[in-house]
């Protein structure tokens, strides 16, 4: 049966008035559905069909118009007449993918530019995830996800070593408990249910991992489990131990990739939104941004949540992003030691609004719970509902029941850039010659990063990009020195040179004035940009002590008034005007 027939059969199951068209294995959906739920469901079912390489979901539904491309991109703001430069490759998007690719391309003797609409790199999903380097067990065998995840995971030590970013291969445990298949429990006699969970299911999980290429998976039972992780629930029946799972700080890694790419000659244009493309003979010739025009030989679409919009501007729309929000709860560092590995409780079937998630340590010693998974209309919506916080506390507490779950210090949401085929989309655009999609990157995206960068370059080569290694490439980069992690004799020496190393301005995370100044020197121009580079404000008091003190340093170092210090963006200045009758 051809794709047309399969799509038709799938659509017949829905009562709605939906028409479709198939072009080069991409399905275009037109028509109208009632609710957003249906919009997602139809898209997903079409995306599941074998052979479908993309779903462009143009269905209308209530509320959807709020997130139309016109609401996000205003072509009239493009500055076509201002020429910024000429590049071999222009990357759209400064998330971890764009930055990794930029760095990888900086190994060669070509001119590379990256444009990013936000004032800093890492401001999309790259900053709002739990930093887990997945082992590659979850993706299906034939997926690109699996291939790149397994490969990327293996590359992490070297990458993080070169970039001076903390990475820990902590390993993970998938826990099988009486709750694992509780919906089936009523159909199965208890001894058989328990036997299946304890002896059969772990084997199935291990087998899947083995087949996927995950190495050294072990099955643990009884006291073995608590020897590995003393605080996991007592009623655990079996655990699947995966040594290759790791953790990283995702925004620090993105910043490191950015700094290293820049050092090797990539031009980064931040706060520079791409709003249009000029094409000639089915190829993009120019990228028009709100600040000016970049001439280009190749374009890479690494625009994350907005990658379908960027594709559409180029006439390369082969997929639609359906944003999926995830909320995470971050706990006080003092609870460091409660767990050593990433822990998850296996649930079959998976939870309708949260497919996975679990409890992970972070490289900084915090513990993080989550994420949830929820389909949302507005891709810009990273708000957290009060009820979600309680849902997470409830949902994951069965993993470590005695954990003081009230001691979280922060929560946040990230939005995944999911496509309906749910696999990574890394391929040349079907209808534009020099346009590479690196899109649909969601979990295990961070784990796959190094492999995605390499694989993307292979794609560019296949598209005709000529690459000659640049001998001056230097892949090393150093992080800002951290007083909190410094040996005392080193700190003593540094303070002797510059007393500001001894002026601790964030007492929760022990961050010195000198670190703040170094972050400003490296280009951070907002409180949050400094926070991501130094960890100032990330401790238990959550900025209530250091907000003003650090703002004062920013104001002094950047030579701007205190009330012009911004949180992140233009128009996010912290403080208002002066009190009645006062001027600085």
């Amino acid at each position: 049966m051809g794709i047309n027939a399969k799509v038709k059969r799938t659509l017949d199951e829905f009562p709605s008035d939906v028409s479709f068209e198939v072009k080069d294995n991409v399905v275009f959906l037109e028509g109208k559905v009632k609710e957003y739920r249906d919009w997602v469901k139809i898209g997903s079912e079409i995306g599941d069909i074998d052979g479908v390489e993309g779903v462009v979901n143009n269905l209308e539904c209530e509320g959807k118009e709020l997130t139309d491309i016109e609401k996000v991109i205003d072509k009239s703001k493009g500055k076509e007449n201002i020429r910024i430069g000429k590049y071999d490759v222009v990357i759209i998007g400064g998330g971890i993918i764009g930055c990794a690719l930029a760095r990888e391309l900086s190994r060669y003797e070509i001119e590379v530019a990256l444009v990013e609409k936000e004032p800093d790199v890492s401001l999309g999903q790259s900053r709002a995830n739990n930093g887990m380097i997945h082992p590659g067990l979850a993706p299906s065998k034939d997926s690109l996800k699996r291939f790149l995840n397994i490969k990327g995971n293996e590359m992490y030590e070297d990458l993080c070593e070169e970039l001076d970013v903390p990475f820990k291969r902590v390993g993970s445990l998938i826990l099988i408990t009486p709750r694992t298949m509780k919906e089936y429990k009523k159909y199965i006699p208890n001894p058989i249910y328990k036997f299946f969970l304890k002896y059969i299911l772990p084997w199935i999980v291990k087998k899947k991992g083995d087949l996927n290429g995950v190495e050294d998976i072990e099955i643990l039972r009884g006291s073995e489990i608590h020897e590995e992780e003393k605080n996991v629930t007592q009623d655990v029946l079996a655990a699947v131990k995966i040594p290759s799972t790791g953790i990283v700080d995702p925004y620090q890694l993105t910043i490191a990739l950015f700094e290293n790419a820049e050092k090797n000659g990539v031009d980064f244009y931040l706060e520079t939104k791409a709003v249009d493309f000029v094409k000639h003979n089915r190829a993009v010739k120019r990228v028009i941004t709100e600040k000016g025009t970049l001439e280009c030989e190749y374009v890479v679409n690494a625009a994350g949540l907005y990658s379908d919009f960027v594709a559409e501007l180029a006439g390369a729309r082969e997929f639609t992003i359906h944003p999926r929000k995830g909320v995470e709860l971050l706990f006080n560092k003092r609870l460091n030691g409660w767990i050593d590995r990433c822990l998850a409780e296996l649930k079959i079937p998976s939870h309708p609004t949260s497919k996975g998630g679990g409890i992970n340590p972070t490289v900084h010693g915090n513990i993080i719970w989550g994420p949830t998974a929820e389909e949302i209309v507005d891709r810009n919506d990273a708000s957290v509902e009060r009820e979600k916080i309680e849902e997470i506390m409830e949902r994951y507490s069965s993993i470590i029941p005695d954990f003081p779950k009230e001691e979280f210090i922060r929560y946040f949401a990230g939005v995944r850039a999911a496509t309906f085929t749910e696999d990574f989309v890394i391929r040349p655009a079907k209808w534009v010659k020099n346009f590479l999609h690196v899109a649909g990157i969601q979990s295990p995206g961070i784990a796959s990063v190094p492999a995605i960068a390499e694989y993307s370059i292979e794609q560019l080569k296949n598209m005709g990009l000529k690459l000659k290694e640049d001998e001056s490439f230097d892949g090393t980069r150093t992080s800002i020195d951290r007083v909190a992690e410094m040996d005392e004799d080193v700190l003593e020496r540094k303070i002797e040179e510059d007393s500001r190393w001894g002026n601790i301005v964030c007492t929760c995370e022990m961050v010195s004035e000198a670190e703040i100044i170094e972050a400003v020197k490296r280009g951070a121009d907002s409180f949050d940009a400094i926070k991501r580079r130094t960890r100032a404000g990330m401790g238990e008091c959550q900025e209530s002590y250091c907000l003003l003190r650090i703002s004062e340093i920013i104001s002094r170092e950047m030579d701007i008034p205190l009330n012009e210090v911004k949180k992140e963006w233009r128009d996010s200045e912290f403080f208002d005007g002066f009190v009645r009758g006062e001027e600085l």
């Binding site: 005392e488 008091c541 911004k566």
Partner: protein, 412 residues
Amino acid sequence: MKDVVVIGGGPSGLATASELGKRGYQVILLERNDELGGLLQQCIHDGFGTILFGESMSGPEFADIFISRVRDEGVEIKLKAYVKSVKKKGGHFNITTVTPKGIEELKSKSVVYAIGCRERNQFEIKIGGTRPSGIYTAGTVQRLVNLYGILPGKDVVILGGGDVGMIVARHLFLEGVNSILMVYPEEFFSGLPRNAQQCILDFDIPYRPRTIVRSILGDKKVKGVELIEVDEDWQPIKGTEERYSCDSVILSVGLIPYSEKLEDLGAKIDENTSGPMVNEYFETTVDGVFSVGNLIQIFDYVDDAVKTSFIAAEGVERYLEKEDEKNLGIKLKPGDNVRTVTPQRIDQTTDEKFSAFFRPEIEKENPKVEIVSGDDVLERHVKRYVRPSMLEEISVSKDILLGENEVFIDVR
């Protein structure tokens, strides 16, 4: 080897250090900020000192008295001093500090923690929504307005009906913001009645009891809040959501003693006060480690907080002179209608009386305050009026406690 290191240069740290200096001990005072005085420096309103000095002063004026005292008593002061670690070794303490002058290892026979408290933030009270700029704790706003002359915003929502929130509301009103709305989950203002009158009612500042901020609205800057009414248990009532426009949200939702550093040293923490468990001389459960001021529990008046300093100074002296007898370890606990009690244990038989501080759970006229063991009332005190917003102090006779294991403070 110093006799004592006092950590924290706010009012109670200053008072402890100066008192011990006066008694002839070698004292070092460590302060993380670049000036002494702690939170008082940002409290330019008056009302400080009425109990101790019989006159109403501003925060900085009150602080100045004790700053002069530490200087007069020859206390060694280190500013911008970050305490990296405190370790007990044998009978003394090694304290590692980081300052702009370098790393220094101090040795002392005893340590007094006077590190106060921090403000609860938006996450601890589960405010939902976005995370734009424009959300501040009340302390940050006080600092901003009083020390920098800058306003947080023009249209302000203040969450919390306690003293700090009310005082900030009045300040912002006088300094010229456009609008203020105060919301709080309690039925009545939780701060002192005099503050409710002088800060809110006298200025006709709008307020809504039984209301909280459910969510923050706005992507880059605060554009508003979603308010929701709550029931008697502070649970949100569905269907009462209301959007309210504002450009900043100020949180005055409680203070938490900075007790984690003490916990790391092995001191036991009281779940009710969130501060360390102390004896009648404010010694923690770690020998030679004392704790004063808002670190023990949150005081309503700085005058009361400072009282603990004088008592602790006495305790430090007894410790240094090895005058302590065996530790009795009589437990003092909150009984009926009482939320918190300090001290949590009585160790020594010296002195006829000791000060006990308690926070009642109810509001009552002419209540009986009883020291109770089992069914026996050991001592009875009379108060004119108690309410949860007022921390109460009673002077308890020690001899009545001898032989008891644990006694309770009841309010009837």
